[in-house]
C-alpha cells in the first residue's frame, strides 16, 4: 500500500540546515494500522506530510497503492489532491465558515468526485453516522467542542473513501479521558473498514494501543520497526528502550559472551552479542524482583531501600546497591519493605547495548 525508499528532506531554518528525513525506507501493507512514533523534531510529521504531498522531499521515492506519487529521478510529484487520501490534522482543520455537513460536502462535491447533491447528502449522513454525530449536520462548525471537531475531521477524511488515512497527532488536543475513549474508537473503526492508516504520535502508550506496527523515529531516521511487544521487549537500541517506558541503566563492560561486570557487581545475561568497550545493561523497573531472603541464585545482590511509595496499583521503591540507585516497581501488597533486601535481576529481562556518549553524562 505504501512503499517509501531513500526519502530525504532538509529544512532551512535561518542559517541552519536541518535534516528532517535522512533516508527513510519502509513498507506498509494494505489494511495495516501503522504508527510513526518519536519525540518532536524526529521527522515523523515531515514523513507523514510527504506522504500527503504537503511537503516535497528532495530525494527518494513514495509509492501509494501502486502509483508513484513522488520520485526524485525521474521527477514525479503528484499534488495532494491527486493522491486519494483522507487526513486528520492535529488542529482538525475544520472550516469555521461552514456547517458540519458543508465541511464534508465540500470535499465530496468539489474534490475528486464532484458528486451530485443528493448522493453527497447521503454520503454525509453515512460518514457522520460512523462517528456518531448523526444530528449535527446543520451545526456551524466553529461552535463544536474539540472532541466533536475531531470526529467531524475523521468523518470528512473517511467520506472520500480514501485508500489511505493519514492522522497527524489527532488526539493531542483532547483531554486525557476523552483521548482514551477516542483512540479505542479509532482503532475499532479502522479494523471495521479495513482501511490502511498511517498515524503520527509522540505518545508511546497511544501508539501501543492503536498500532499493528510502530516505526520509532529520532533525528530523521527510523530506529526500529516492529509490533508493540517486540519494541518493548526486544528494543534494537538504548534509545528505543528509553522511549518505551522507563528503564534503569547500569554501566559496565563484558567479561565474556554472557557475563558483564557492572558498577553493582557481575551480572549474567542471555547474551546475544558481544560488545567491546563500555556497555550499558538495562532493566525495566517492573522486572526487578525484591526478595527478603537470599536464595543463592545468579544476579542477586544486596541493596538498601531508600524510599518506598505506595501508589495503589503498585509500589515504587528506590533501592541502592553500592553507589547506584535503581527504581523498582513492586507489587503493592508486599507491605512496608525491609530496610535491607535482596534484589533479583532476572537474566532474560536484561538488555545490553554499547554505551552511548550522551548516556555517560546521565548515568
Amino acid at each position: 500500500m505504501i512503499a517509501i525508499s531513500g526519502l530525504r528532506k532538509k529544512f532551512q531554518s535561518g542559517d541552519q540546515t536541518i535534516a528532517a528525513l535522512r533516508g527513510i525506507d519502509l513498507e506498509v501493507p494494505k489494511g495495516e494500522f501503522f504508527v510513526l512514533l518519536g519525540p518532536s523534531g524526529s521527522g515523523k510529521t515531515t514523513l507523514l506530510r510527504s506522504v500527503a504531498g504537503l511537503e516535497k522531499p528532495e530525494a527518494g521515492k513514495i509509492i501509494l497503492n501502486g502509483k508513484t506519487v513522488y520520485s526524485s529521478s525521474p521527477r514525479v510529484f503528484a499534488p495532494p489532491e491527486e493522491r486519494q487520501i483522507g487526513m486528520v490534522f492535529q488542529s482538525y482543520a475544520i472550516w469555521p465558515h461552514l456547517t458540519v455537513a458543508e465541511n464534508i460536502g465540500l470535499v465530496l462535491t468539489h474534490g475528486r468526485f464532484r458528486l451530485p447533491k443528493q448522493e453527497a447528502a447521503q454520503r454525509i449522513r453515512q460518514s457522520l453516522a460512523l462517528v456518531q454525530l448523526d444530528d449535527f449536520e446543520n451545526r456551524p462548525a466553529r461552535l463544536l467542542s474539540g472532541g466533536q471537531q475531531q470526529r467531524v475531521a475523521l468523518a470528512r477524511a473517511l467520506a472520500v473513501n480514501p485508500a489511505l488515512l493519514l492522522m497527524d497527532e489527532p488526539l493531542s488536543n483532547l483531554d486525557a479521558r476523552l483521548r482514551e475513549e477516542v483512540r479505542a474508537n479509532i482503532k475499532k473503526l479502522a479494523v471495521r473498514l479495513g482501511i490502511t492508516v498511517m498515524y503520527v504520535t509522540h505518545d508511546q502508550v497511544e501508539a501501543m494501543v492503536v498500532a499493528d506496527r510502530i516505526a520509532v523515529m529520532a533525528h530523521g531516521e527510523i530506529l526500529q520497526i516492529g509490533n508493540p511487544f517486540e519494541l518493548y521487549r526486544r528494543p534494537a537500541s538504548s534509545l528505543v528502550a528509553e522511549f518505551f517506558g522507563s528503564i534503569n541503566w547500569l554501566r559496565g563492560r563484558m567479561l565474556d559472551d554472557t557475563r558483564v561486570e557492572t558498577e553493582i557487581g557481575n551480572l549474567t545475561t542471555d547474551g546475544a552479542r558481544r560488545y567491546n568497550g563500555g556497555v550499558v545493561v538495562g532493566v525495566r523497573p517492573e522486572d526487578v524482583k525484591l526478595d527478603g531472603a537470599f536464595p543463592g541464585d545468579e544476579n542477586r545482590l544486596e541493596g538498601e531501600v531508600l524510599s518506598s511509595t505506595f501508589l495503589g496499583d503498585q509500589r515504587i521503591a528506590e533501592v541502592r546497591i553500592k553507589d547506584k540507585t535503581l527504581v523498582v516497581k513492586a507489587p503493592p501488597d508486599d507491605g512496608a519493605l525491609a530496610k535491607r533486601v535482596w534484589v533479583h535481576l532476572p537474566k532474560e529481562r536484561l538488555v545490553v547495548f554499547p554505551e552511548m556518549p550522551e548516556q555517560q553524562n546521565r548515568l
Binding site: 504537503l54 511537503e55 489532491e81 472550516w95 469555521p96 465558515h97 470528512r156 493519514l166
Partner: protein, 566 residues
C-alpha cells in the same frame, strides 16, 4: 502601589487635550465672527451643512475618492499578500522591505510625480497623446476622483498589504491543506476556503483604508485643490485659509463635526468586523510553515511582472518624474531640446535659508515628538493594563480617538484654541510648541497600541515580584518594565520619528511662520506658489535627508510589529 497616581496623572495629561479638542470642534461649529470681534453663536453652519449644495458635492467627492482608494489599494495588496504568504515566489524579503519603505514615502511626494505624468495639460503621457495623435485633450486625468484615488490607493497599498498578510498569518494553514488533501485543487481551495476565511480580514482592511481616504489631505491638496475638486479635508482647509474671503471657523467646525462622526462610525464598524475575523483565527501550537503553492517557472515570471510593474508604477515612476522635473525650469516631456535645458538651477535657487530653518525644526520634532508620545503612552498603557483603576477602559477608548479623528481636525482645533481661547495666556500660534503638542497627540493611538500589545505579553507577576521586594513603582518601571519593553519602544520611536518627518497634513494649518516651518511645508509652499519644478527639487532634497532615518528604521525596527498597531 506607591506612585500610581503620578502615572494616572501623566496619562490624563495626554488624553484630556484629545477630549478638549473634540468638544472645541463641535463648539466651533456654533461660533460666529472673526478674530477680534465679539463672539456670538448661531445654528447657521450646521444648517448650511445639510442644505448647501457645496457640502453635498464635497460628500459625494469624498466618498468617491475614498472608494477608489480602497479599490486600487486592494487590487495590489491582496495578490501581493497571497503571493508572499502562500506561494514559493522568490525575493520575499525584498517585497517586505519595499512595502515598508512604501509606507514611509510621503504621499505628497508621489502625488507631485503623478501630476507631472498625468496632468491633463502638462502631464507627459497626455502631451504625448495630444501632440502625437492630434487629440484635443489628454486621455488621462489625474485631477479626478479616480485619478486621486489611484494615487492615494497606491500609497495605502502598503498598509493594506501588511494588514492582509496579518490575516493570512492568523489563519491555520491546515485549513487550506485539508482542502488540498481531500481533493480540491489550488483554485478551488482559494475560492472555497482561503477567500471566505480571509474575507473578514479584507473587509476590515478596506474599512481601515476607507477611513484614511475619507480624511486624507495630501493627495486632494496637491492634485485636487488647484483643480477645484474638494474633499472634506481640503474643504475644511479652504474654509480656514481661503484665498479671497475671510476664514470661516464656524463652517470648518460644522464640517469637521460631520467628518468626525463619520470616522467614528467607521471605526466602530472596523472593530466589529475585526472581532468577527478573529473568530476564524486559530492559534496552532505547531510552527510548521504552510505548504507553499509551487508557481512554476512561468507563474513566477508572471508574478514578478505583476509585482515589478506595481513597484515601478507606485514608487519608481513618480520618483523618476520628480527627478526629471527638478532638472528643468519649465516642465516638458523628455526630448533632445529638453535635455539641452537640463540644469541644477532649481537646486541652486532653493530657499536654502528657509530650508535650514525647516531642517532644524523638523529634526527637533523628530526627537521630541516620539519621546513625549512614548512617555505619555507608557503611562496610558500602564493605566489601562496595570493600574486596576475602575475607569481604565475609558483611557483605552480615548487613546484610540486620535486614530479615528482626522489629524487635520486636531490641528484646526489646536489653532482655534491658540487663537481664540489662549491668546491672552500663551502665545502658541505660529510656535514650534503647538506643532509639538498636536503631533504628539496625533501619535497617541499608535504608540498606545504598540505598548499595550507588548505590556500585555509581560506577566504581571514579574512586577509583583519586585513590589513584594519593596521597590517603588517608578523603580519597577525603570528596572523591570522599561528593559522588557525596549524593543517595542525602539520600534515605535523610530516609526513615529519617520512619520513626523513626512507630516504635511497637520503642518498645513499649524505652520504659519519661519519659527515653526517644517521641510514638507516648504515643498508644499513652493508647489502652491506655482513653482512646480522647484518644488520637485525641494522634494528630492527632503527625501534625501530622510534616507538615513529610514536605514536606521530598517536596522532597528522590526517589520512584524507594524501590524500590531493597526
Amino acid at each position: 502601589m506607591r506612585g500610581r497616581w503620578l502615572f494616572v496623572a501623566i496619562a490624563s495629561a495626554g488624553l484630556l487635550p484629545v477630549i478638549g479638542f473634540l468638544l472645541i470642534i463641535v463648539w466651533m461649529g456654533f461660533w460666529q465672527g472673526n478674530p477680534g470681534d465679539p463672539v456670538s453663536y448661531t445654528f447657521k453652519h450646521y444648517e448650511t451643512l445639510f442644505t448647501d449644495g457645496a457640502t453635498y458635492r464635497t460628500l459625494v467627492n469624498t466618498l468617491g475618492f475614498a472608494s477608489a482608494t480602497v479599490l486600487f489599494s486592494l487590487f495590489f495588496a491582496v495578490p501581493t499578500a497571497w503571493l508572499v504568504e502562500r506561494t514559493d515566489i522568490p525575493g520575499k524579503n525584498l517585497i517586505f522591505a519595499f512595502m515598508t519603505i512604501g509606507a514611509l514615502v510621503p504621499t505628497f511626494f508621489t502625488a507631485m510625480g503623478w501630476v507631472f505624468l498625468l496632468h491633463p495639460r502638462i502631464g507627459i503621457v497626455n502631451k504625448f497623446f495630444v501632440d502625437g495623435f492630434g487629440l484635443a485633450q489628454g486621455p488621462f486625468n489625474i485631477a479626478s476622483l479616480i485619478g486621486m484615488g489611484w494615487v492615494e490607493g497606491l500609497g495605502l497599498s502598503s498598509i493594506a498589504f501588511i494588514m492582509i498578510v496579518a490575516t493570512y498569518r492568523s489563519m491555520d494553514p491546515a485549513l487550506e491543506e485539508a482542502a488540498r488533501v481531500h481533493g480540491l485543487g489550488i483554485f478551488r481551495t482559494l475560492r472555497y476556503v482561503t477567500l471566505p476565511l480571509t474575507f473578514p480580514g479584507i473587509v476590515a482592511a478596506s474599512i481601515y483604508v476607507f477611513t484614511i481616504g475619507l480624511s486624507a489631505f495630501e493627495v486632494p491638496a496637491i492634485i485636487g485643490m488647484s483643480n477645484k475638486i474638494f474633499t472634506f479635508s481640503t474643504y475644511i482647509f479652504y474654509k480656514i485659509q481661503p484665498l479671497e474671503e475671510l476664514p470661516s471657523y464656524g463652517m470648518a467646525g460644522a464640517v469637521s463635526s460631520l467628518l468626525v462622526a463619520l470616522a467614528l462610525l467607521l471605526s466602530w464598524g472596523y472593530f466589529r468586523v475585526l472581532r468577527f475575523s478573529h473568530r476564524y483565527a486559530v492559534v496552532t501550537g505547531k510552527g510548521y510553515r504552510p505548504r507553499l503553492v509551487d508557481l512554476g517557472k512561468q507563474g513566477r515570471l508572471l508574478a514578478w511582472i505583476f509585482l515589478g510593474s506595481f513597484f515601478f508604477i507606485a514608487k519608481l515612476l513618480p520618483f523618476l518624474l520628480l527627478i526629471w522635473a527638478s532638472l528643468l525650469r519649465f516642465f516638458q516631456p523628455p526630448s533632445l531640446a529638453a535635455f539641452e535645458q537640463v540644469s541644477l538651477i532649481n537646486y541652486y535657487g532653493l530657499p536654502w535659508n528657509l530650508m535650514f530653518h525647516g531642517a532644524r525644526n523638523t529634526l527637533i520634532l523628530m526627537v521630541v515628538v516620539p519621546t513625549l508620545a512614548l512617555l505619555l503612552c507608557l503611562a496610558i498603557s500602564w493605566t489601562v493594563l496595570r493600574s486596576g483603576l475602575k475607569w481604565r477602559l475609558t483611557f483605552d477608548a480615548v487613546a484610540f480617538l486620535p486614530h479615528a479623528v482626522p489629524h487635520l481636525i486636531l490641528a484646526i482645533a489646536a489653532v482655534f484654541t491658540a487663537l481664540f481661547l489662549l491668546r491672552n495666556v500663551f502665545s502658541l500660534y505660529g510656535s514650534l510648541t503647538i506643532v509639538i503638542v498636536v503631533y504628539t497627540i496625533s501619535r497617541i493611538s499608535f504608540a498606545t497600541r504598540i505598548l499595550n500589545n507588548s505590556l500585555a505579553q509581560i506577566h504581571p507577576e514579574l512586577e509583583e515580584a519586585a513590589f513584594v521586594g519593596g521597590l517603588p513603582l517608578w523603580q519597577v518601571m525603570r528596572k523591570i518594565l522599561l528593559p522588557l519593553l525596549e524593543p517595542a519602544m525602539v520600534y515605535a520611536w523610530l516609526w513615529m520619528a519617520l512619520l513626523c518627518y513626512r507630516e504635511l497634513t497637520m503642518a498645513s494649518v499649524l505652520v504659519t511662520s519661519q519659527d515653526n516651518v517644517t521641510l514638507p511645508m516648504i515643498v508644499w509652499g513652493l508647489w502652491l506658489g506655482g513653482s512646480l519644478n522647484q518644488a520637485a527639487a525641494a522634494n528630492l532634497v527632503v527625501l534625501a535627508f530622510m534616507l538615513p532615518a529610514v536605514v536606521l528604521y530598517l536596522i532597528f525596527g522590526r517589520r512584524s510589529r507594524f501590524s500590531e498597531a493597526l
